[in-house]
Every structure is written in C-alpha cells, then in structure tokens.
Symmetry: C2
Subunit: 140 residues, 2 copies
DNA sequence: TATGCACCCTCTAGCTACTATAGGGTCAAG
DNA sequence: CTTGACCCTATAGTAGCTAGAGGGTGCATA
C-alpha cells in the first residue's frame, strides 16, 4: 500500500510517517518502480504500535526501546516494565505539578476584582516574585 | 548590574535572558563602554514577572500579553482575567488527559507477569491498536 | 608585567516531535 | 491532454530554551 493509505489506516500524517522513517523508527519500505514507498502489513502493525505508545505519552526514545524489546520475544519483559513504570512516575509528577499550578491559578482568578489593571490582583500576584521587593512597582 | 547578576537574582540562565531580549520580551538594556549589558531595577522586576508567569505555565505569547496589559494601568483588567481563565482551562484539560493516561499505564503495569517478552501484556497492549486487525492472541 | 580565571559578547546550531512549505514527478479519469 | 490527487526530496519552521565556538573584558595574584 502507498503512504497515504498507511496514513489513513493508522491515523498518522504522511509527513510523520516519513519523519519516523528518517529517524530510524520505522524501517524503510520497498519502493515501486516510480519510487513510491510500498508498505505491507508488518509496517502497519509497527506504526500502530508506535502511535499507541505515543498516544500514551511515551517519548520517541522510549518507543524506540519498546520496539526493540518487543522484538526480543524470549527475553525477560522486566525492561519493558521499567520503562512503563518510569513513564508512570513522570506522568504522576506532571499531574502533581499541574494540580499545584491550577490551585494557584484558581486563587489568582478568584481574587480578580474586575477593576482596572492598576488594582489587578492577578498582575500583582505575577509581579510579587520573591526576588522583587514588594510594592516597588508603583514607583516607576 | 551585569547579566550574570540579574541571572542570579531572578533564577534565570544568562542565555535565557539574552533569548528573552532577542524575542522582544525584555527591552534591551543600556551597554557599558565594554559593550556589557547594564541592567537596573526595572529590568529585574520585569524579568521576575516573566519568570513567575512562566512558572505558572503561561506561554511566552501569554506572558507578552500580560506584560502589555500590566503596563496599561488604567484599563480594565478583564483581559487579564480572560488570559488567566483560558490558561486554567488548558491546565484542566491537561490534568484530565494525564489522569486518563495514568489509568491506562496502571492497568498495563498491573498486568505485567514478569515473564518473557513474548507473553508481555504491556507489549500486547501497545500492539493492540484498534487499527490493526491482529491474529488471535494465545493468552488473551 | 604576565597570567589565569570568571565573566561578557555574537552567532550558530541543537533539542523534541513534528508540520509546512517549495518545487518537482506520477497516475488515473474525463 | 489536461486536471487533480497523490507521491517524491529537501529545507525551514514551531516553542522555549540550551550549548557551543571563537573571541573580548576585568580583576586578582605571582
């Protein structure tokens, strides 16, 4: 099948497929006489694997490792577990960060008095970094 | 003060400060006779504002807007509120996405039997994209 | 005075993971 | 025989920095 067909089947953009090939994530397929890429089922499965791992937030480097591991069918799958757990830790950290952030945003937004910028608590909150002496901003 | 001092005071890398100047987020400071950047308090406050907004996850484009708004001290601060709320919505969406992701990762990791890759449920889960019709898997 | 070191300068390229051009070639239908 | 959808390569762009090359400056010390 042609690259456009593979793109449709896997929900990937054509450019992305070529990019994956360029960085060595996907093997270069055979070419037709007119130099078109000619893909088979194995390519489709491999790309589907990549897409699914990417959707789950694995980095391209992690996907590369997972692909490599998935080919070594008789080795222990502990390495796979390690990658997945590492990724879960990263996701956990991100969630915690975003929640803290959301809390601060909530506080800021809640304090907005809808007045003029000079009295805006959101702007104040942003200006009040611990490195800047408080209220020094009026004097400019 | 020199760029290194400003960097230390605001917890910013020197390169980042130069980058902010380059993209027009910070005004170019005066130069000393030896062409060193010479910063004052106003620069420090402005950079502190930027850093704080960035720490809260605002994009550089949003920071640029917030900076512009913070200078218009007699205008309504509703525009500030709009930016903050839009950002909160984005953060909320990201949290939801990451939580869904975490759930799936949890499921995958929980199923890891620590056997060989051929029987690895994590690899299976990644391979089982709905777009690829797979032959029946032995231990479903 | 010479030397060393930390710091400053510009310019350029690199990172992730794509996305989007420009400037062509191929192929089937009308 | 032309139109339009597709394909090709190569290059540059996106965010938000970060790192390096290759050079200049300023101050303390031997």
């Amino acid at each position: 099948m042609k690259i456009g067909d593979l793109a449709r089947l896997t929900g990937t953009k054509v450019e992305t497929i070529r990019y994956y090939e360029q960085i060595g994530l996907l093997l270069a397929p055979a070419r037709t006489s007119s130099n078109y890429r000619d893909y088979g089922n194995d390519h489709r499965q491999r790309l589907a694997f990549v897409r699914r791992a990417r959707d789950l937030g694995f980095s391209l480097e992690q996907v590369r490792e997972l692909l490599g591991l998935s080919d070594k069918r008789d080795q222990s799958c502990d390495a796979v577990d390690v990658i997945a757990r590492a990724h879960r830790t990263t996701v956990d950290r991100k969630i915690a960060e975003l929640r803290a952030l959301r809390k601060e945003l909530d506080r800021m937004i809640g304090e907005c008095g809808h007045g003029v910028v000079a009295d805006c608590h959101i702007i104040e909150a942003l200006a009040d970094a611990d490195t800047s002496p408080r209220r020094a901003i009026d004097s400019q």
